[in-house]
């Protein structure tokens, strides 16, 4: 199916900058942003403040997709999908720049801006924030 670019375009604040909504009444934070706090409901109208989530967090759980990938991800198997915790807010994301066997629940991850998918070879490229393990560099710069 062909979609208007507007469908992904309207999500870019949340995807590019991890913008989310904080209900100023109860302090709960929602990602993606919401216009209404489902806890405070009507009282939250006009009290949903835009904040950005921390760019570091930890892996809550993950799965490595080896087969039956989603359309647009066919050439990328195995790829790693994960839920990460960013200062108490959990989001669904992809893990990148790592091998499946080097990650564990609880590992620290950092945000990176990446291309997520594209509408075919001629269509719009959709970008977003995903995560990669924070690695402690072990090797030194080449002493040539």
């Amino acid at each position: 199916m062909d979609f208007s670019p507007s469908r992904e375009w309207r999500e870019i604040n949340a995807r590019y900058r991890l913008e989310s909504s904080m209900c100023e009444r109860c302090g709960r934070i929602y990602y993606p942003p919401r216009d209404l706090c489902p806890v405070c409901r009507r009282k939250s109208i006009g009290a949903m403040k835009t904040i950005t989530l921390p760019r570091r967090g930890e892996i809550v759980t993950y799965s490595v997709i080896h087969a039956a990938p989603l359309k647009g991800f066919e050439g990328r198997t195995p790829y790693i999908v994960a839920i990460v915790d960013l200062g108490g807010v959990r989001i669904q994301t992809l893990l990148t720049d790592c091998e499946p066997d080097e990650i564990e629940i609880g590992d620290e991850v950092e945000a990176v801006f990446r291309r997520i998918r594209e509408d075919g070879e001629r269509g719009v490229i959709h970008y977003g924030t995903i995560f990669r393990p924070v690695r402690m560099p072990k090797t030194s710069v080449h002493a040539h």
């Binding site: 992904e8 759980t61 997709i65 080896h66 039956a68 990938p69 359309k71 669904q92 499946p100």
Partner: protein, 393 residues
């Protein structure tokens, strides 16, 4: 509220039914249900006052919407221009259709109502099936990142293993058990025994889940006929009553759950169902559970109250949910072996419960079953329907 009975059940074979169309499946299961209900007097199509059809996504699977009209048209309900309604709640569509039909009869609005569950998934190529199914998740904030349904349940499984020490063997045992039960179900998609080794040898789909942890892509339909107790007795004496039917919701996205290893919707729906039926888990004789992936059945043991949170793996390991165990789960073979035409599943579960309670389940019969339960899940637990059935009121 009036007492509601199931007077007739029908179901097509589940599987890759290449030669059957949506409408053929619908008519086949419907006719079987009508025949089944016509024990003392013939139940005619025009006796049915309203119909509900559970279907997840014929729009995506078959490019056909407006299935309620198709149902009315092809089953003869247009005579009298009776109302038909399509209900969608992802893989819980069948269960939610049942819930709505139950309310329609219990409230007194109608005396006889048909509930159909239907899905024809093999018209799409497999890559597109994955994509259609993931519409049950959060498209813009889950599927956008390449998430598939196996991977969502795999993430629950990994967390369950991490938090409670659930093992890959325990997960595999669920598939082994359900294939063993399905072997005796003539309508099951897979009538093939498998071993734990077979599960380990099957290809990885979404680690830690392998192919044999996953329910298949299936075609199929199931229909049940509901009636109030008084009307019901005019048609048949093989009555099965709905003692309770409860539906509950949770967040659309898995990532928004506080606890990834508990389906709050199931906990909540089952609590209401137990209270309504004035029963406890120990009173239930067997369960038809939504084992779309093996981890889902283990979580169902816990969330339905048959064991403490985290003990689910032990339950399968100790054989408690085998067909001759303390609380048999999925005597039909479950979604795993019987097949999972998503919108049909919730209704097909009711069909199996009825057959069991009528002691018509032949070689897979749970001995002495008097109270049965079904557990139908939509998405990652965003919707849950828990129903309790009994032979006696």
């Amino acid at each position: 509220m009036r007492k509601v009975a199931i007077i007739g059940v029908g179901m097509t074979k589940f599987g890759e039914l290449w030669d059957k169309s949506l409408r053929q499946l619908l008519v086949e299961s419907g006719l079987e249900a009508l025949e089944d209900a016509s024990e003392k007097r013939t139940l005619r199509g025009k006796d049915i006052e309203a119909a509900y059809i559970g279907n997840m996504s014929a729009g995506l699977f078959n490019e056909q919407e407006h299935l309620a009209a198709m149902l009315a048209d092809y089953t003869g309900m247009t005579e009298g221009n009776r109302p038909a309604t399509k209900v969608e709640a992802a893989c819980a569509s069948g269960g939610v259709a049942l819930y709505n039909a139950y309310l329609a009869v219990a409230s007194g609005r109608y005396n006889i109502v048909a509930v159909c569950g239907l899905e024809k998934m093999t018209d799409l190529l497999s890559g597109s099936v994955t994509d259609a199914l993931v519409s049950a998740a959060d498209r813009e904030y889950e599927a956008f990142y390449g998430v598939t349904f196996p991977s969502l349940y795999a993430m629950m499984a990994r967390r369950h293993m991490h938090d409670y020490g659930t093992t890959l063997e325990q997960l595999a045992l669920v598939a082994v058990k359900n294939h063993r039960n399905g072997y005796y179900n003539p309508k099951a998609q897979f009538r093939r025994l498998i071993t734990v080794e077979d599960v380990y040898r099957s290809p990885v789909i979404a680690d830690p889940l392998r192919l044999l942890h996953c329910s298949p892509v299936s075609d199929g339909a199931a229909t049940i006929i509901l009636a109030d107790a008084k009307t019901a007795k005019k048609y048949t004496d093989r009555l099965v009553y709905i003692l309770a039917c409860a539906q509950a919701s949770d967040t659309l996205g898995l990532y928004n759950r506080k606890d990834l290893t508990t389906m709050e919707s199931v906990v909540s729906a089952s609590k209401v169902a137990y209270e309504t039926a004035r029963l406890k888990p120990k009173d239930i004789d067997f369960v038809e559970a939504h084992d779309c992936f093996t981890i889902a059945e283990i979580m169902a043991y816990e969330d339905l109250g048959f064991c403490e949170k985290g003990r689910g793996g032990k339950m399968i390991e100790e054989g408690l949910t085998e067909i001759d165990g303390e609380i048999p789960f999925n005597p039909s073979g479950g979604l795993k072996a019987k097949g999972h035409p998503v919108g049909a599943t919730g209704v097909a579960q009711a069909v199996e419960v009825v057959l069991q309670l009528r002691e018509e389940a032949e070689q897979r019969q749970v001995k002495g079953a008097k109270i049965g339960m079904s557990h139908n899940i939509g998405g990652t637990g965003s919707t849950a329907v828990v129903t309790i059935y009994g032979r006696d009121v």
